[in-house]
């Protein structure tokens, strides 16, 4: 049995946890311990093979809704999602935070860079977002870094008068290998593993990986329970991982403050299995997925979308009206084969055109619904995920699919495929378009589970932040309404969708909460 005592225990080393841990130790002298369930794989481990690199993913890439229809991708290693994402970096979307103020009573998080929220000098979201973007070298790719896949997307948008913008990317010295999603073998992607985690180490943070937190340790308090630590298990270090700082076996933590930053699937699951009070049945409810529909387009010339910077362009042209973003992305053969519909000779014929295929995705900012949720399943020892596209979101997703098809034909595609077997086109076994005038067939899509593939890589909003305990589990400080000394700080604390790919929003929030905790340290570490 290993016993660890610290001022702050941070659970999760992804976008939120690593950023928060580093920020906590910048000037405070706090003793911070950062735990991560997954292994600590570094650049020396990443070998650019899809099969091998599934070890970086939650449930080795198999995490999905209970019906198996919708995969929920997520990092399960040090660095979390920032290790396995495509480096797409969006500023916090101000309109969403304003909506959260209005609908959920969220306070603080000022977008005024001169604001001193909570009386803490220089504390505001604008400054925190700027800090994060500087630390992670967020910038737009140069024109000469844009690969053919992205060039075609931009050209198609231009022909139709659809605005396309360059992504911002957290990279430095990218060589354009195209393997962002499998861990950057060159440390060019500036995820938390190579940025804030290194800052955390420099500030004295202890990282314990391979550490599953079984339960938070709650004790009775004056008006509500209070968390005093946690207990868990250290798994043997996986082959290829960097060494751990403690031996395998049971472990207990004593901490004056516990911050849960395990992401929108694992954070609610941890609260549920720790018997966190939930009088309004809010924990895990209202899961946001940003459901994404893959689209493939066949061209007559080589594209090799798997090479170069994966995502350089996106379009938010329809965002204000329909709430979707078209993101130009591509993938390697396994994921491509799964996304391309059908089977047998027809499917293999499409795969033989892999090098001449362009890809993009429609990503929807989805509407919260309480039936979309995460529940800890004690019997299976894992979180059950329930998600269905709600009725009011389907028309918006259909428009997104239609526009994507039109853009690809405008770019010169010979054939466009949706990742769907729904019979929306007469005589076609899969959703295969051969001319732009067929694009309105997308209006027939029903998004039938296991017939149309929608995937999620941006789960959010399962431990919502609200000043009203009937609407949220935590308040604007991230402090639990039901348990003292407990803060939740990750994408789960967003009340709804943050409105874009969430990495920078999460990191900015974590930076903000870290600065706030230090600025209000008397609130947590008085004695």
């Amino acid at each position: 049995m290993t016993d660890v005592a610290c001022d702050v225990l941070v659970v999760g080393s992804g976008a939120a946890g690593a950023t928060l841990a580093a920020t906590l130790v910048e000037r405070s002298g706090l003793h911070v311990v950062l735990v991560e369930k997954g292994a600590y794989y570094g650049a020396e481990f990443f070998n650019q093979r899809e099969l091998d690199m599934t070890v970086l993913l939650a449930e080795r890439g198999g995490r999905a809704t209970g019906d198996g229809a919708m995969p929920f991708a997520g990092g399960a290693c040090v660095g979390g999602g920032t290790t396995v994402n495509y480096a797409l970096s969006f500023d916090p979307v101000r309109s969403m935070w304003e909506r959260w103020r209005r609908d959920y009573g969220v306070r603080g998080f000022s977008f005024d860079p001169s604001a001193d929220d909570y009386g803490v000098e220089g504390l505001n979201l604008a400054t925190c977002a700027r800090d994060v973007k500087v630390r992670c070298n967020v910038h737009e790719p140069r024109d000469d870094e844009v690969n053919e896949n992205n060039r075609l997307f931009h050209a198609g948008c231009s022909k139709l008068g659809i605005t396309a913008r360059k992504f911002q990317l957290n990279m430095r010295g990218c060589i354009g290998c195209g393997f962002c999603g499998q861990g950057c073998a060159y440390d060019a992607k500036r995820g938390t593993m190579v940025t804030y985690l290194q800052d955390a180490f420099a500030g004295g943070v202890q990282l314990i990986h391979h550490c599953s937190i079984d339960t938070l340790a709650l004790e009775p308090g004056a008006d509500r329970p209070r968390v005093v630590g946690a207990s868990g298990t250290i798994a043997p270090t996986a082959p290829g991982s960097r060494p751990n700082t403690v031996a395998p076996g049971p472990i207990t933590f004593k901490a004056r403050l516990v911050v849960v930053a395990a992401g929108s699937i694992e954070s609610p699951a941890l609260l549920q299995r720790s018997q966190h009070p939930d009088p309004h049945d809010r924990i895990g409810r209202g899961l946001i997925a940003h459901p994404s529909l893959p689209i493939a387009a066949l061209f007559d010339h080589p594209i090799h979308g798997e090479r170069g910077i994966t995502g350089s362009y996106y379009s938010d042209h329809f965002y204000d009206r329909y709430g979707f973003v078209l993101e130009c992305l591509f993938d390697h053969p396994i994921d491509a084969a799964i996304a391309i519909p059908g089977f047998g000779a027809a499917h293999y014929g499409r795969m033989r055109n892999f090098s001449r295929t362009a890809g993009l995705g429609v990503m929807l900012v989805d509407t919260p619904n309480d039936e979309n949720r995460v529940r800890w399943n004690r019997a299976t020892g894992k979180a059950d995920i329930s998600y269905r596209v709600v009725a009011e979101d389907k028309p918006r997703l259909r428009v997104g699919a239609q526009k994507a098809v039109e853009i690809m034909f405008a770019a010169g595609a010979r054939e466009v495929l949706l990742s769907s077997n729904e019979p929306i086109l007469p005589g076609e076994e899969v959703a295969r378009f051969t001319r732009a005038t067929q694009a309105d067939a997308c209006n027939r899509l029903q998004f039938v589970p296991n017939q149309t593939l929608l995937s999620s890589a941006h789960c959010q909003a399962t431990v919502k932040m609200s000043e009203d305990p009937s609407k949220g589990v935590v308040d604007s400080r991230g402090e639990s309404h039901g348990v003292a000394n407990l803060i939740v700080c990750d994408s789960s604390a967003f009340p709804t969708s943050c409105g874009a790919n969430p990495m920078i929003s999460i990191m900015s929030m974590a930076r903000y909460q870290g600065k706030r905790i230090v600025g209000e340290r008397g609130r947590y570490f008085a004695s």
Binding site: D67, F179, A296, Q451
Partner: protein, 159 residues
């Protein structure tokens, strides 16, 4: 294409196989059930999902990919998966999937792809995913699709 990762070990173990086992128990299939082994059914399924008669496909037999599926996912050790294969194989009262010719197998699998039953579609997507996962992770399959693979040459992940 955005990440679309499905059909791995935990997915199948907790998913289609369980569902199929439930139907099996509810439909009373058993009497007159085809005598084909689970491995025969898996080989036939793989041979339908991948066109082994295509000259561009690497010279691999369906059994080699089925071996790899079993090696990666450990499926044939799962009673629920075996039950789901048995259910799938009972194509009709007179024929098994294994007993069908190639065109008939294709038609039968397409029916499952489009079936109104959530569980049948789920079985189809699961089997399709594990097959493509096993096949397209093999470097032998990459030249025909003009995929050049990793830029760095490192040995596989330590086991």
């Amino acid at each position: 294409m955005p990440a679309a990762r499905i059909g791995r070990r935990s997915f199948l173990r907790s998913g289609a196989a369980t569902a199929a086992a439930l139907w099996l128990s509810s439909t009373g299939i058993g009497d007159g059930e085809p005598a084909d082994s689970p491995r025969d059914v898996l080989d036939a399924l793989v041979g339908t999902i991948l066109p082994f008669d295509d000259p561009h496909l690497p010279t691999l037999a369906p059994w080699a990919i089925a071996d790899r599926i079993d090696q990666l996912f450990g499926l044939l050790a799962s009673p629920t998966f075996i039950a789901s294969l048995r259910y799938f194989n009972a194509a009709s009262s007179t024929a098994s999937f294994v007993g069908l010719d190639a065109a008939q197998r294709r038609m039968y699998l397409a029916q499952w792809m489009l079936d109104a039953s959530d569980d049948r579609r789920r079985f189809y997507t699961s089997m399709r995913s594990v097959t493509y996962f096993a096949f397209y992770s093999l470097p032998e399959g990459w030249p025909a699709i003009e995929y050049s693979g990793p830029l760095i040459q490192r040995s596989g992940v330590p086991k």
